[in-house]
C-alpha cells in the first residue's frame, strides 16, 4: 500500500514539480481523471459514435451541441416547471426530516425500549417501493403541491427515523453513566448527550433523502399531474421533443448533485470531526 502511495506521489511530483503546490493539487488525478472521462464521452457522443453503434436517430437522442443550443428556446418553460416542482420537493424534504427527527426523539425519550425494537421494523420499510404509493395517495389528496409533499414525507421519514435512532442509541455507555451519576433527567441526557451524538447520523440520512425527494416529486408528477419538471421530462421525451426533455433531465440531475453537495458541505461544517474520520475510508 505504501509502495503504491509513493509511486503516485512521485508521478505527481515529476509531472507538476515546477508549479506551485496549488497547481499540483488542481492537476491531481482526482480532478484530471473524471475530466478526461467527461471529455471523451461527450466527444464520442457529439461525433456520432454512440448514435452509430446503437442505431439511434437524432430525434430520439440529440447531440450535446443541440442540447446546449436549446437552452435559450426551452429555458423559460423549464424554469416554469421548476418553479412548480422544486418548492414541493424542498418542503417535503424539510418536513420529512423534521418529522423523522421528531418521531425518533419522542420515541427515545418516552419509550426507549420500544424505540430499540422499532429500528429493524422501520429499516424493512426501505425494502418497500414507497414511490408506488403515489397513485394510491392521489385518491386521498388532490394532485398538486400537497400530494407531492405528502409522498416525499412518507418516503423520507422512515430513513430519517432509522438513522436518527441509531445515533441516539449508539452513545458511549460511559457518557450515560456520567449523566446518571449527575442524576441528570432523561431530557437533559437527551439534549446534551444523545442529540449531539445523533447529528452525524441525521446528516447522513439527509444525504440519502435528497434523491428520495426528487424521485417522489417526479413520480407524483408523472402519475398524476400535468405540470412540473417530472411531467416535462416524460411528456417531451415521449413526444420526441428530445432537446427539451434532455435539458430537463440534465437540470434535475444537476439540482440533485448540487443539493447533495450542499448537504455534504453542511456536514463538513457541522460535524467536522466525523466527516474527517470518514473521509479516510
Amino acid at each position: 500500500m505504501t509502495r503504491v502511495a509513493d509511486r503516485e506521489g512521485a508521478r505527481t511530483r515529476i509531472g507538476f514539480g515546477f508549479g506551485s503546490e496549488r497547481l499540483g493539487r488542481l492537476a491531481s488525478p482526482t480532478i484530471v481523471g473524471p475530466l478526461v472521462v467527461f471529455v471523451v464521452v461527450v466527444g464520442l457522443w457529439q461525433l456520432w459514435v454512440f448514435h452509430a453503434i446503437f442505431n439511434i436517430k437524432t430525434f430520439t437522442i440529440p447531440y450535446p451541441s443541440g442540447i446546449v443550443a436549446g437552452i435559450e428556446e426551452h429555458g423559460p418553460r423549464l424554469l416554469d416547471a421548476l418553479a412548480e416542482s422544486m418548492p414541493a420537493a424542498f418542503a417535503g424534504y424539510g418536513l420529512g426530516i423534521l418529522t423523522g427527527f421528531s418521531v425518533a426523539s419522542v420515541l427515545i425519550v418516552v419509550a426507549p425500549n420500544v424505540a430499540n425494537r422499532l429500528v429493524p421494523v422501520l429499516a424493512s420499510v426501505n425494502a418497500v417501493p414507497i414511490a408506488a404509493l403515489a397513485p394510491l395517495l392521489a385518491l386521498w389528496v388532490d394532485p398538486g403541491f400537497g400530494l407531492k409533499v405528502l409522498v416525499i414525507v412518507i418516503m423520507t421519514t422512515p430513513t430519517v427515523v432509522v438513522y436518527t435512532m441509531r445515533g441516539f442509541i449508539n452513545v458511549h455507555p460511559t457518557a450515560l453513566e456520567l449523566m446518571a451519576s449527575y442524576e441528570a433527567s432523561d431530557l437533559t441526557t437527551f439534549r446534551t448527550v444523545r442529540v449531539p451524538n445523533a447529528l452525524p447520523f441525521v446528516l447522513t440520512a439527509m444525504k440519502s433523502c435528497v434523491v428520495l425527494a426528487l424521485i417522489g416529486t417526479i413520480v407524483t408528477e408523472v402519475v398524476t399531474g400535468f405540470r412540473g419538471i417530472g411531467y416535462v421530462i416524460v411528456a417531451s421525451l415521449s413526444a420526441f421533443q428530445t432537446v427539451q426533455g434532455w435539458l430537463a433531465l440534465l437540470t434535475v440531475a444537476g439540482i440533485g448533485i448540487t443539493w447533495y453537495l450542499l448537504v455534504d458541505l453542511a456536514e463538513r461544517v457541522a460535524v467536522p470531526w466525523d466527516s474527517a474520520t470518514r473521509r479516510g475510508d
Binding site: 500500500m1 488525478p29 481523471g33 418497500v128 414511490a131 433531465l249
Partner: protein, 262 residues
C-alpha cells in the same frame, strides 16, 4: 422454539394490522365517502379482486419479479467486475468513481424515457433499469469491501511475492463478503422498484402498469391498485429476506458478528 415465537409475533402483528384496517375501512364507509371502496377497500375485497383476475395479477407479478431478479443478477455481476477492476487500477477508480456516486443522485425514473429511446424493447428497459440500480450500489459496496483489507496483510502478501490474482482470492474477496451482502440487501428491493418504475412511466405491463391503470381508469380499478401495491410490498420484503438467508448460509460467522453488534 424461537422460530415458533417469532412466527407467533408475526401472526399477532398481521392480526393487529388487519384489525385496524377493517376498522378504518368500516369507519370510512360509514362516513359516507362515495369512493371509500377505492380509498381504503376491505382486505377481503382486494382478495376477491385478485381471485377474480388471477391471470392478470399473476402475469404482472411474474413480469415484474422476473425482470427484477434477472436485472439484479446482471447488476451484481457487472458491478462486482467493475469494482474488482477499479481495485486493480487506481486510475480507473479515480476517473469513474465520481460518476458512479453522482449517478445515484439522478432520479432513475427520469431515465426511463431515454432508455426507451435507446433500447426500444420495454422488456429490455425494465431489465436495464433493474440492473442499473443494482450496479451502482454493488459497485460502491464491493469496492469498499475489497479495500477494507488490513494493510499489514497486504504487506505480508507483497513480502511473499504473491500475484494480483492470489491477493484477490486469498485476501480481498473474503474481506469483501460482508460488504457485498449489505449492498445486496439494499439493492435487491431496489431492483424491484426499478422494474416497477419503468411500468409506471411507460405502462406496458407488470405491477407498475396495474398501479397506473387504476389511476387512469378511475377509482373503479383501485382494488387492483391496492393488490399490486401489496404484492410489491411483499416481494420487496421477500427479496431482502432471501439475501439475509443466503448470507446466513454463505458466511454464518459474519452474520453472527453483525447480529451481535446490532
Amino acid at each position: 422454539m424461537s422460530g415458533v415465537g417469532a412466527a407467533l409475533k408475526v401472526a399477532v402483528v398481521i392480526a393487529v394490522v388487519l384489525g385496524v384496517w377493517y376498522l378504518g375501512a368500516f369507519l370510512l364507509e360509514a362516513s359516507g365517502d362515495r369512493i371509500a371502496y377505492a380509498k381504503l377497500p376491505y382486505p377481503h375485497a382486494i382478495l376477491e379482486k385478485v381471485l377474480a383476475n388471477p391471470g392478470t395479477v399473476l402475469e404482472a407479478t411474474w413480469e415484474t419479479a422476473s425482470r427484477a431478479v434477472l436485472g439484479f443478477f446482471i447488476g451484481l455481476f457487472v458491478g462486482g467486475l467493475f469494482a474488482t477492476l477499479m481495485v486493480q487500477a487506481r486510475a480507473l477508480e479515480v476517473a469513474f468513481l465520481p460518476y458512479v456516486l453522482a449517478s445515484q443522485m439522478v432520479p432513475i425514473i427520469a431515465l426511463v424515457p431515454i432508455m426507451r429511446a435507446i433500447l426500444r424493447e420495454p422488456e429490455l428497459v425494465r431489465l436495464y433499469l433493474a440492473s442499473y440500480v443494482t450496479f451502482f450500489i454493488i459497485t460502491v459496496a464491493v469496492l469498499r469491501g475489497l479495500k477494507s483489507v488490513d494493510r499489514n496483510a497486504l504487506e505480508l502478501m507483497a513480502s511473499l511475492n504473491a500475484g494480483r490474482a492470489t491477493v484477490l482470492r486469498a485476501l480481498r474477496f473474503p474481506a469483501a463478503v460482508p460488504y457485498i451482502f449489505s449492498g445486496m440487501r439494499i439493492a435487491a428491493p431496489l431492483s424491484l422498484i426499478g422494474a416497477i418504475l419503468v411500468d409506471l412511466v411507460s405502462g406496458q405491463g407488470g405491477l407498475g402498469y396495474l398501479m397506473v391503470a387504476a389511476v387512469v381508469v378511475g377509482p373503479s380499478q383501485a382494488t387492483l391498485l391496492w393488490a399490486a401495491l401489496l404484492i410489491a410490498f411483499g416481494l420487496g420484503i421477500l427479496f431482502a429476506r432471501i439475501v439475509v438467508w443466503v448470507e446466513r448460509r454463505v458466511s454464518p460467522w459474519q452474520f453472527a458478528m453483525r447480529e451481535q453488534a446490532a
